[in-house]
């Protein structure tokens, strides 16, 4: 699941659906604890009535559920990244880790991460001189 890695990076996770906390409890006991040793380690929030989903623009009024939206929020409370997928396709944990590492790097150094960046690859230092000269220091992958 990558939660230990997220903890190493200092990131907390909150899951949330319109189900009650009692439903979360039973789901954890009957199924999730069989998939994750010790059960789910992070808080499972209840969004009864879809109030929070509406605030985040992910509540489906017709279906009465929150769609599969994921928000990455920085230490100042700003949403840096968001992704939403329809039900058949699961999220990609690797992409989430990549984004977190990229945003944490940018926060720490002021450098920016070009398209396709993964940890270890070159970053760019945004300066006025760089405008029009990115091609000298970076090329897109073919």
């Amino acid at each position: 699941m990558g939660y230990p890695k997220l903890q190493e990076l200092g990131v907390e996770v909150l899951s949330i659906s319109v189900d009650s906390v009692f439903s979360h409890k039973i789901w954890n006991e009957t199924e999730l604890s069989k998939m994750v040793e010790g059960g789910i380690p992070f808080p499972m929030l209840s969004d009864r009535g879809g109030t929070i989903g509406r605030l985040y623009e992910v509540y489906d009024e017709e279906a009465g559920v929150d769609i599969r939206g994921r928000f990455l929020i920085d230490p100042k409370g700003i949403i840096q990244a968001a992704e939403a997928l329809t039900p058949p396709v699961g999220r990609n944990p690797q992409e989430l880790l990549r984004q977190i590492q990229a945003y944490q790097h940018t926060l720490a150094t002021g450098e920016v991460m070009p398209s396709g960046w993964v940890p270890g690859e070159p970053t760019l230092k945004p300066t006025t001189d760089l405008a029009g000269n990115v091609w000298k220091v970076w090329q897109p992958r073919k």
Binding site: V13, S15, I16, S17, S46, I52, A63, R68, P75, R91
Partner: protein, 45 residues
């Protein structure tokens, strides 16, 4: 879209490691947090 904007505040009940508690978004100021919405318990992610 909300990207680049302040994450909307909320306070709501939660199930966490065997206990029922209340969670506020403000509890997580000064750290990175991921919120994962999903349609329902007992559905396959």
């Amino acid at each position: 879209m909300l990207v680049g904007k302040k994450a909307p505040s909320f306070t709501t009940p939660a199930f966490h490691q065997g206990k029922i508690t209340n969670v506020k978004l403000e509890d997580y100021l000064n750290q990175w947090v991921i919120i994962c919405f999903y349609p329902g318990d007992f559905t396959f992610v």
